[in-house]
Symmetry: C2
Subunit: 162 residues, 2 copies
């Protein structure tokens, strides 16, 4: 794979980072950069995850979303187990280059390990009746799962941590 | 303001967190939760920021986006200086409840301190000519700034850190 030290520019000045035309990402103290993944056609936020320098380099190289799994501590080619590969149509970086926005097309139509299209399948209930209620109530924005996680992942450990 | 301990539910089981109807957010070891903010009408990702429990409680209470500034270490009612307030139209939480997606309407049409509509005003150049080039080249997706940061922020320190 590409050498990420050649692939990414240096962060020498705020002006270069904010206004320049060289990718110079900032990885946090754990070596990670947050990634927002949206559906290319609908704009829906599908998931929020992380990449390390190797995952970002690999994503740019192959054009599929490659993340870093914090729970499993490995590079993670999304869809390797589930088949739900994300094809990268556009990859954006923010002003200070410490966050990535990826616009993707999803093979199979789902991105969430629970089985929904988006990981963000619930919203805060802001109705008059629910307003001020404690604890805050959630509504389901998606009602039907796209796939059955038990069939797809079998006995693999659930990534959700309490 | 509301007591966030009453506002947020306990995280007792993966099933409750993933499939339940109670908001039970997970704040990281620094007490923060990442937030993806998109334009309600266009779906464009405007910014990626963080909230602590107080900022999330305040956002739900007043319906404007309230973040936690990691550089200034304060609760930050977005638009307090610039007037570019974000009205929250929808607030979603992800499967394991460790990330927030907010759909907002922006007073003044911009969310980025550099002056652009979105913080994500640059994309990786995937053209045939640029492909494989090192370091990776960026294209500007927005060409005109919505406002002049110098006029709006004056001498306030730039939040971008190298």
């Amino acid at each position: 794979m590409s050498n990420e030290f050649k692939l990414f520019g240096a962060r020498n000045s705020v002006e270069e980072v904010e206004e320049g035309q060289i990718l110079a990402p900032k990885f946090d103290k754990d070596g990670l950069i947050p990634v927002v993944t949206t559906d290319y056609d609908t704009g829906e936020v599908l998931m929020h995850a992380y990449m390390n320098n190797e995952a970002l380099a690999k994503t740019i190289e192959i054009g599929d979303a490659v993340y870093y799994s914090r729970s499993r501590k490995v590079i993670w080619h999304k869809g390797g187990t589930s088949g739900l590969v994300q094809k990268v149509k556009e990859l954006r970086i923010d002003d200070d280059q410490d966050c990535v926005w990826m616009r993707v097309e999803v093979t199979g139509g789902a991105s969430c390990h629970v089985g929904y299209r988006s990981c963000f399948y619930r919203s805060v209930n802001f109705s008059d009746k629910a307003r001020g209620q404690e604890p805050v109530e959630l509504n389901f924005e998606e009602t039907d799962k796209v796939f059955d996680p038990k069939k797809v992942y079998g006995d693999a450990p659930n990534p959700t941590q309490l």
